[in-house]
Symmetry: C2
Subunit: 509 residues, 2 copies
């Protein structure tokens, strides 16, 4: 590990601003000193990306697929050093590191599979009809083409799967777009290692220099310059609402506005029916105590809001959930800053009128370790105060007690956009769920039935996105094959000579 930036194939570090990553478990900075990219280096990276785009966009799908597969192989070849660095920069356990690496490699191979043939580019052919009156019909052929250089902002909570060579990068490279990663400062070492794998794969696969760069930065300046660079044509981001919105605003204010797909905060409301409380209160408390604390609550699909209706057994359920949740061992959060935000946001929610603490982890913990908290509030208080709607990133969940179904629907309607909504209900209640489903559908990208929102399956039928602020454009997903559609545009060829058409459009010309 050098602490340098990858500007195309070169490792450079001309800057004077440096930073270190932090080991939250050991509660001390890691060794490597990372150097922030300078404005010259940023310019050089976007210059190379634009140049690379000229040839990269026309590479055959099978060649880009080989490149993606080579990235996956190189990531695996990093072996122990990658897993160790990941753990030291995130405090996440080894099993998670290995699992997330598997997901990262799996996504790269999934996109390689997708672009093995050109069907994903939706070739569409409308043949000419010279005899049509009053005007002959021209021959029109359409294909999806890549937008241009894409800037990817890695996520703090997924150092591998949604960062350097994560879903955004894999889908953009698959589409034919060069990628410039603004490395996440909390795991810059993991980022550099993965970047080295991408660069190695690019060189071995004969990809043009500039197809990938990786820039260090601990503040907002590097990202700002990247998004404002006219050579950049799209942005992918995973992180906070504040960060994502700032980038969205910058991109919208450019002379040439560009699309920003930002996947941001979400409290992932879970509706628990009376029947579910009656029939499986204990089981739900067990399942949700695990979902709330999974990965120390640091998933974008963490269930931060449980919506209930007053009924017999509800008090017992809430107490049971509290007990079970706080009995889960505390674990380190990703970074001291994330830990202090967790404490502060949770306390803010608890200090609101009507908000009551149900249970709190109370064993002594190391620094940066987060013990879970469960709170409760009435539907009436919740409806009056949007401070209760905010995400507390970490092992925290707020149980809202609505007085009836009408108030429950109102509560759902009062929420901002969400990645997911979950319904726990019994078969005999299905026919009465129309209003709840209807309200929920307006607010989320995915509804889960009798399950948990955590665990985002990577497949074609997945929607990971949703109405703002779950994402900045609900028309796209950040997970699965269809996420490639964020980086392409339709392009039409009218009466084009066969010899000049892309191969896939030549058919029957």
């Amino acid at each position: 590990m050098t602490g340098k930036n990858y500007i195309g194939f070169q490792q450079l570090a001309a800057g004077s601003m440096t930073f270190r990553t932090y080991d939250p478990v050991q509660d001390r900075p890691n060794d490597t000193l990372f150097t922030e990219a300078t404005s010259d280096e940023i310019e050089q990276a976007t210059f190379l990306a634009e140049k690379a785009f000229r040839s990269y966009r026309t590479t055959e799908g099978s060649k880009r697929a080989a490149f993606l597969r080579a990235i996956a192989d190189e990531i695996l070849a990093l072996d122990e050093i990658l897993i160790q660095t990941y753990m030291k920069e995130s405090g996440l356990p080894q099993g998670r590191a290995i699992g997330e690496r598997g997901r990262t490699v799996g996504q790269l191979r999934m996109f390689a599979e997708l672009i093995g043939d050109d069907a994903w580019r939706k070739p569409t052919i409308d043949r000419a009809d010279p005899s049509r009156t009053p005007v002959p019909k021209p021959d029109l052929r359409k294909l999806l083409i890549p937008l241009g250089p894409v800037v990817v902002f890695g996520a703090s909570n997924f150092p591998l799967a949604y960062s350097t060579a994560g879903g955004d990068t894999a889908s953009a490279l698959a589409a034919g777009c060069p990628v410039i990663v603004k490395s996440h400062p909390m795991h810059a070492g993991t980022g550099e290692l993965v970047a080295s794998a991408v660069i190695k794969a690019a060189q071995a696969a004969g990809m043009p220099e500039g197809v990938f760069s990786n820039l260090n930065s601990s503040g907002i300046e590097v990202g700002k310059l990247l998004v404002m660079d006219p050579k950049v044509k799209a942005v992918g981001f995973t992180g906070s609402i504040g960060g994502g919105r700032a980038l969205f605003d910058l991109a919208a204010q450019r002379d040439e506005p560009i699309p920003v797909f930002a996947e941001m905060g979400s409290v992932n409301p879970v509706i628990i029916s009376r029947g579910a409380i009656k029939n499986r209160s204990g089981e739900i408390a067990t399942t949700y105590s695990k979902s709330i604390t999974l990965g120390t609550g640091q998933f974008c699909t963490n269930p931060g809001l449980l919506l209930t209706i007053d009924c017999e057994g509800l008090d017992e359920f809430i107490q049971d959930l509290g007990r079970k949740t706080v009995s889960v061992d505390a674990h380190s959060m990703l970074h001291p800053n994330i830990h202090s935000a967790f404490q502060q946001k949770g306390s803010e929610v608890l200090s609101q009128e009507g908000s009551v603490l149900v249970a709190e982890y109370d064993k002594p913990t190391q620094n940066n370790y987060a013990g879970a908290r469960i709170a409760t509030v009435s539907g009436e208080h919740f409806l009056r105060n949007t401070k209760l709607h905010q995400e507390v990133f970490g092992p925290f969940s707020l149980v809202v007690r609505c007085k009836d179904e009408a108030e429950l629907v109102q509560v759902i309607q009062s929420l901002e956009g969400q990645l997911t909504g979950t319904i726990l209900a019994e078969k005999e209640e299905y026919t009465n769920l129309a209003a709840v489903i209807d309200a929920l559908q307006d607010r989320v990208g995915r509804i889960i039935f009798n399950g948990v929102p955590t665990g985002v399956e990577v497949c074609d039928a997945m929607t990971h996105g949703g109405p703002y602020p779950a994402s900045t454009d609900s028309r796209f997903t950040a997970v699965g094959n269809h996420s490639i559609l964020r980086w392409v545009r339709p392009f039409s060829y009218q009466d084009f000579p066969k010899e000049l058409l892309p191969e896939v459009l030549k058919e029957a010309k």
Copy 2:
């Protein structure tokens, strides 16, 4: 004609601001006095639209299809009054009125056909695998669902096909989104007539009140309030860069930003090769004199920029093109304001350094009639001065003489985003076109070979859109079946009970 707004099914006009449309051929205002929508009426329209959305979005495709077909029938039933009003409010001839009505009706029926079954909603099914380790795979099913109420801004140059019940409205209604039209003030009467047809069809087809409203306005205030209304979820616009950008900026600044698809200006560069000049100079001059003056040059795909390379015969071609173009009879423009903008913008281009007038229509004309102008300039001057790049909306074209192919490529690269680019070249030149095609592809949404950009075929393989400012989001098209994708988002159902799934997703559950 009443001059009133349609707020849902009601005709209202509580406001005090009024305006008239203008007959540019007779050079006098038309009779009907139109009343601008008040802020209360706007609020009422968006309230009804949001309410209508609740039921409209789940109507079966076949019912929405019947609604669209009924709109088409009702528009045809307006018969002579519609054609006469169209002509009096646009100065466009009867043939064009009838042709555009045919296109409008055709688009409505095309979308009706599309939504007859649910394939367009891309149902995607990933079945569960309970035996998968380490985690069982859930059942996931995905479908496109409508965004919500859409605001449509009609185009001055297409009173029927891109206005009240034009492409944006037809595609949004087809998608399941209620539509509020901000009627174009230049053809508010045509708009009211078409709106009456939509309302009649909605009532007959049993559609909910609020599925469609039509608001009058001669300024920017009504549009502004509509775009800022939190109940509005997307915007369609066809018109000037200034207008479209203003709406885009407003929408991006909302607490909840919403997508704006604005189709804006374009000069539609046409590259004419040396071989084409050598072999068919006269034919090209004839064809392009017609394309430049078609509809008095008032098409968004009007060829406003012809790019050539110095060669034998080029002077003669330019003179011939000038002669032929200015020999086409002058005709009325859409409105006195559009006529004066045409004169002023053309003169501005002609006053730039190096810009030379080739030919100008010089017969006496009525007020508001536009005679064509052809100008020429060197590639060097063009590259130095972006004032020469601007659109002169009307029968005007600027011939750029590049000194060589390298300068031609530079000129293409210097252009802003365009709807179309056209290449006129000979077979033996095809192998040398790579750099030109490559540069052009970066700048346009559609390339035409040996044809003219005017005439936008309505079909699946059409892309009408392109890099900014041709449109505000190059990932979508404004014409053809795929334009429906602007108004929908993917939605996933995880482990959903069969009885609660939408019909099309129930398969094999």
